[in-house]
């Protein structure tokens, strides 16, 4: 079993209204040093061992998890710790 962690972020250049709102809020709390805030997604998957895990996860990201028009993604694969 593998644990896959997928990080999805908006592409550079794509306006992030949520990020802007967070930045404004942080400024109003006195954190003037915040120059930019971008919001993304974090997805955890547990997948059966597969010889092409990386390739399969890439396909999952391209087909569903991320929208390549506006988003970039990266992922990490590690041995899942059984609980």
């Amino acid at each position: 079993m593998k644990k896959v962690t997928v990080f999805i972020t908006l592409k550079q250049g794509v306006l992030d209204p949520q990020g802007k709102a967070i930045q404004t809020s942080l400024h109003s709390l006195g954190f003037q040093e915040v120059e930019d805030a971008r919001v993304g997604k974090y997805i955890e998957l547990h997948v059966e061992d597969h010889e092409n895990v990386d390739e399969r996860v890439k396909e999952m990201c391209d087909k569903l998890l991320a929208n390549p028009v506006i988003e970039d993604y990266r992922f990490e694969v590690e041995e899942a710790v059984r609980s």
Binding site: P17, N67, V69
Partner: protein, 227 residues
Amino acid sequence: MKFAVIVFPGSNCDRDMYHAVKDVLGEEAELVWYENSNLENYDAILLPGGFSYGDYLRSGSVAATSDVMKQIKEHAAKGKPVLGVCNGFQILLEAGLLPGAMLRNKNLAFMCHQEALRVANNTTIFTQSYAENEVVRFPIAHGEGNYYCDEETLNELKQHHQIVFTYENNPNGSTSDIAGIINKQGNVLGLMPHPERAVEAIIGSDDGLKVFQSIVRNWRESHVANV
């Protein structure tokens, strides 16, 4: 003419769409549940607004992977009309039937009011009943209607006259004031504002009726006239 209104879990404008076509226009229409559906015998497909699958992951992304989309793609490939409104537009984008993507509205608010739109292309099968550059009023109701595409796609949209409706007073931050676009073949239209909620003057506007009348007129001209 026979319309299919596709119903996903979370669709909520399906009955408005059905009412516009069936009751106001007097055409045949059926509500078609997305599972185990057969779209072969329909002349046009309508993807209604709402929150399919609760807008999980990204608006329209889950519906775009459903089996019924394969049939809708086949239907579109045959040149038959497909109209996606609001969430229906988001589904068409996620399914790759139209280029671009939707972002959150610039002001982060869900907006629900009437907007003035310009008919930027009145030569499509969805807009041929409108005058050139006619300004119409449709309601909008969305939180993610901020249309985005890269420069290259935008140039292509302009070059092929694929921008069909634009906002007069851009409410959501959409690139180039885009409210609705059509595919290159000219048979798949995605539109963020709701023409199906503007089909009776007594409830505010009947400016949207011509979208459906255009579809029917075009279909009659190419089918009935030849019989």
